[in-house]
Amino acid sequence: MNWNWFYRMGSPRWFYETTSRWLPWLGALTFILLVGGLVWGLAFAPQDAKQGNSFRIIYLHVPASFLALAGYFLMAAAGAIGLIWKMKLSYMVMKCAAPLGAVLTFLALFTGAVWGKPTWGSYWVWDARVTSMLILLFLYLGVLALQYAFNSKDVGNKASAILALVGTVNIPIIYKSVDWWFTLHQPATITFTQAPSMHPAMFQPLLVMILGFYCFYAVALILSVRVEILARERKTSWVRERVKQAAQNSLGATL
């Protein structure tokens, strides 16, 4: 099997130039999906029979939670690839995925709290999923703190990659324990019975939003990885060429 594509993918220059071509399209697609899905979900989807209009927060909460968790696995996978194949680019991906994932986890918690107030009568409930999300935020913060604690960027990258991997082993255990803990202490007054199935008219905009969040994640991650590449490869001729071009065409500098 030919592995050339794999090694080429590890080249920062290749990544930069390829994403330059993709970004405008991906950005436009993200914008259309997010704006379309949000307008659809907020104004056109039918309201929930029990929860009324507060249920519309689902269109932000569920996609953010999805990406928060998926982002952790992506970060750990990038760290593992960096540790095994010593690929510079994958450390950059890991480094940029950490703050991005932390912000999305915070968003999932925030939208969950705001949704909880009208639904359960309180901003915070020690529900199993809410608690797991909070622990996920702690895991992200740990990786971030470790990343920036070392003077040497290289050691910081490797150490936080290992921590992210340890976290990945732990996440299923944490989720299961919190689930078990919740059933042990579940108060009788609050029941979290899920609707058996969502009406298609409610589900379709949610699907659009989830897709939109995935695209958004890709765009945000690519943008910050590109900055990382520029900063690290600043001495190379291809970066200098880019800078020269941008100086000639000041519009290009903003894109």
Partner: protein, 68 residues
């Protein structure tokens, strides 16, 4: 698919749930915009830094050539 609200103020109010829904939307939009804007600003800074470095090296080279 039909518009679920009678008018604009009904959309804002959402039968009393408007404050919650719109607060969630506002914070999400704000943070997500920041996630896009921040790397773009950083990128501009890096470009300017590299441009300064290049011109400094250029000056140094010119000076050494004149000296020789």
């Amino acid at each position: 698919m039909k518009f679920q609200f009678d008018n604009f103020s009904h959309l804002l109010n959402m039968d009393g749930h408007g404050a919650y829904v719109w607060a969630a939307v506002a914070v999400t939009v704000l943070l997500m915009t920041w996630l896009i804007i921040n790397p773009l600003l950083q990128r501009r800074d890096v470009f300017e830094e590299i441009a300064r470095e290049v011109s400094r090296e250029q000056l140094r080279q010119d000076a050494s050539r004149e000296g020789a």
